[in-house]
Homo-oligomer: 170 residues x 2
């Protein structure tokens, strides 16, 4: 599949809908606006992650649990790498898509923080851990889309654990 | 000053411009769109931070230097707390303003990462440190706008240093 041959801005919702075999009206039953077509799996993606965080071993610390959840997301994305690379190029080229992406990631950080709180982490630490883990995921993801095709996203996410320790070392 | 008595969505650019003593045309010479009026000082804000990061003592580690820069931003915002609280309420109530805010903060994280790289921090660590420091600033800022009027933002930003160490502890 080729993403927006004429660019996202130049493509109408009618064209996007037609390619998906939908009418424009049906499109808007599924997606709130034009941008949402690029975030179709965002709810399931977030649920997959929060479930993985929630089911991390109870002895596991909050950051490790959060990164395990995000590594699970990495395993989910791995078979779709070439799609993810294409999609990333579309999002990177359009500031409104970047904005939407950042909102989704901010929501993901909040959701992870919520699960950590449910696991017994104090509120302030839980929130900050959610933010830090998603920041680590973003940098891992960015490396992944620019690396060789056989680079493993889950491995990059787990490797950020050591980097975070380096970052906070005094 | 009272922010958008009728809500941001219900206020036109003509009204915003009029209140600032500008024509709509002059408004658009200063701001790219309606949302930008709430991000008027963003460039100076970012420059203030990156300058402070750049001038942190050379022996200071990257995260401490980044947080010093953000604490300097805290000192800049402190006298404007009630304005910041009002502005935060406007941004929080509007998803498009949240999006714009997240883009500015993502740009700030990148800029801090760039300064850290210039200070000799390896690229990967520099980028992640920028992201982590801005995540810490966001949580500190959020506490600040919800705390007593005499709570000091710079102190909250510096206090996040210890929290980040707790977060990454094994």
């Amino acid at each position: 599949m080729c993403y927006f041959t004429n660019g996202f801005d130049q493509t109408t919702v009618a064209e996007i809908a037609a390619r998906a075999g939908l009418t424009e009206r049906t499109y808007f039953r599924h997606f709130a606006d034009k941008r949402e077509v690029l975030f179709g799996g965002a709810v399931e993606f977030q649920e997959h992650i929060t479930r993985a965080v929630a089911s991390a071993p109870s002895g596991m610390g909050p950051l490790d649990a959060a990164l395990e959840g995000l590594a699970a997301a990495g395993a989910l994305l791995q078979p779709w790498r070439s799609r993810a690379v294409q999609r990333n190029a579309v999002v990177t080229a359009n500031v409104e898509l970047q904005e939407r992406e950042l909102v989704k990631l901010a929501g993901l950080a909040l959701a992870i923080g919520g699960v950590l709180r449910d696991r017994g982490t104090p509120d302030a630490v839980a929130r900050l851990t959610g933010e830090v883990a998603v920041a680590a995921f973003r940098t891992a993801f960015d490396r992944w889309v620019h690396a060789d095709a056989d680079t493993d996203l889950a491995t990059l996410v787990r490797a950020s654990r050591d980097e975070l320790e380096v970052v906070t070392q005094r």
